[in-house]
Amino acid sequence: MSDLWQYLQANQAQIENWAGTTVWLIVLPLLIGLALALPTGWLAARYRWVYPPLIGITGVLYTIPSLVMFLVLPGILGTRILDPINVAVALAVYSYALLVRSVADALRSVPAEVLAAASAMGQTSTQRLLGVQLPLAVPVIAAGVRVAAVSNVSLVSVASVIGVPQLGQLFTLGNNTESLTPIVLGLIFFIALALFLDALVLAAARALTPWRRAVAS
């Protein structure tokens, strides 16, 4: 334990720097993926024929190994191989691939009679989408966001293999120096990060769905 503490103090500036990069590499792609998944997921929920091909394509996207993605993206984007942008874009693609399905399924899960009632009251389709369908889809979307957040945490560490500076570097460093300390430290960081993000999304979802708590109590 004291090893960990000493190591942390000795490399504080470096680790803080890495931690900052790690967090934005996880969170920003997640938000971008969600922002893109909302309209496309809506399309898939709205038009029946869009659903199968869209889910098929995004399913394939998610199966592309992350290492391949990190190596191929610079060629496509014209970025340098060590540029963190590559990682961000890759994780955004993965988040998007996971979330499209969540969003489509979430919007589809809203009971037909509730939507019919909204229309019958005289809501326009936009009012209905934003005021009824989307709020009721929050729990299912949030479940998808939790999976995507944790998936991003585990994927971001892989970027260290190609040398993008972030907390995953602790693993390569430990491996190269045959020292367990940075590896254990890295593990603690990533697990804590995953738990923290998961709890954050859960808390946000609960705040957005007060009616579910009222019913449970």
């Binding site: 009679e113 009251m121 005289g122 809501q123 009721l136």
Partner: protein
């Protein structure tokens, strides 16, 4: 008035939901569309507020053709009660009811004030205002559904199986309350149901539809029971229709037997002296009938003690003075003594009547028809 003029709805796959429907739902009355599933009744209902557009024909509300009005605008002027309530699970009871006033541009405060009034109007307590729909019973949800439909004070209401998701006792209660509400509000209402009893109970006019979306008969309930237009309607209206038809004929002044009731706490011997044919009627201190006590064929030794609530036979139904022949006949048939109990408007005992007396009145009613 809502008028269907040769309305048809055909889907691209060739199925016909509604075929050449023409009928007029009169203003300030309840018109019921009833039929088995696949008879196009819900489709017909939804064509009024343009949730479905007909493929042929026209629907007019008063003299305005509905297809000339934008759907959202049209719908805000038409109350809609959907099957199972269709409440918004994520909004409180109050905000559910306030939906249409808010859409019409009322302030949140004004819409909520209006919603509180309606909550009271449909018989729900104010403390339910902040609950969510899932915290309510089925019957309460249905009431909120009706309140929501009434919130913008629409002259027209459409109701799709409004009372089907609750148990029979609550359903009867909701139907009675709805009829009471309609007596005050006098809206032009179309109700869809698959239940012929509900149709006959609620409808001023009933349209019986058959599979394929054609109109089999459009008539007042009594007419429907007395003269079904064809074998389908006769079969759909069902058995017991002769008996049910009695529900549309007032009993008039029935000869009431001179019954001498006893009260709880009276001696059983007294009950035997006052009773006839072995049964004595028991009423409470306010003369409200409680039940019958059997006092016939028992030796004096068995009749020591008083009339207590445990001894009562509660089998008989009550009929009101000025009620229908059906009520009085049912009261007589269900009574253990064979004497049906008639009560006045305040529920106080008025007299008893036998089945034979009611039946002779049925004969008289037939002759004078």
């Amino acid at each position: 008035m809502i008028r269907y003029e040769s309305v048809s709805k055909q889907y691209p796959d060739g199925t016909t939901a509604v075929h050449d429907l023409s009928l007029e739902a009169p203003s300030h009355q309840i018109t019921v569309l009833v039929g088995p599933s696949g008879s196009g009744k819900t489709t017909s209902l939804r064509m009024v507020n343009r949730m479905i557009d007909p493929t042929a024909g026209r629907i007019r509300i008063d003299d305005r053709e509905v297809s000339s009005v934008k759907p959202a605008e049209l719908r805000r002027g038409i109350g809609y009660v959907i099957q199972n309530g269709g409440l918004f699970p994520h909004r409180t009871v109050l905000d559910n009811i306030a939906t249409v006033p808010r859409l019409l541009g009322q302030t949140r405060r004004a819409a909520r004030r209006r919603a509180m009034e309606l909550l009271d109007r449909v018989g729900l307590s104010a403390e339910l205002a902040t609950r969510y729909p899932a915290q309510l019973s089925g019957g309460q949800q249905q009431r909120v559904g009706v309140a929501r439909a009434l919130a913008a004070d629409p002259p027209i209401m459409l109701m799709d199986e409004p009372f089907s998701a609750v148990d029979p006792v609550v359903r009867t209660q909701l139907q009675d309350e709805f009829l009471r509400l309609q007596r005050d509000l006098a809206r032009t209402i179309i109700v869809v149901t698959h239940d012929i009893d509900e149709a006959i109970k609620l409808g001023d006019h009933v349209a019986v539809m058959r599979v394929g979306g054609t109109l089999a008969q459009f008539a007042q309930p009594a007419e429907l029971l007395a003269r079904p237009a064809d074998a389908f309607v006769a079969g759909f209206v069902g058995r017991d229709r002769g008996y049910r038809a009695l529900g549309f004929t007032a009993a008039g002044e029935l000869p009431l037997a001179d019954e001498k009731p006893v009260r709880l706490g009276d001696a059983l011997m007294t009950a035997r002296d006052r009773g006839r044919d072995g049964w004595a009627l028991v009423v409470d201190d306010g003369d409200v009938p409680l039940g019958w006590v059997a006092v016939g064929g028992l030796p004096d030794s068995a009749l020591r003690g008083d009339v207590t609530i445990d001894l009562l036979n509660l089998g008989g139904t009550l009929a009101g003075v000025g009620g229908t022949l059906r009520e009085s006949l049912d009261a007589a048939l269900s009574s253990p003594s064979g004497r049906g109990v008639i009560v006045d408007l305040d529920g106080r005992f008025a007299g008893t009547v036998t089945a034979a007396q009611v039946l002779s009145r049925v004969e008289t009613a037939r002759e004078t028809r």
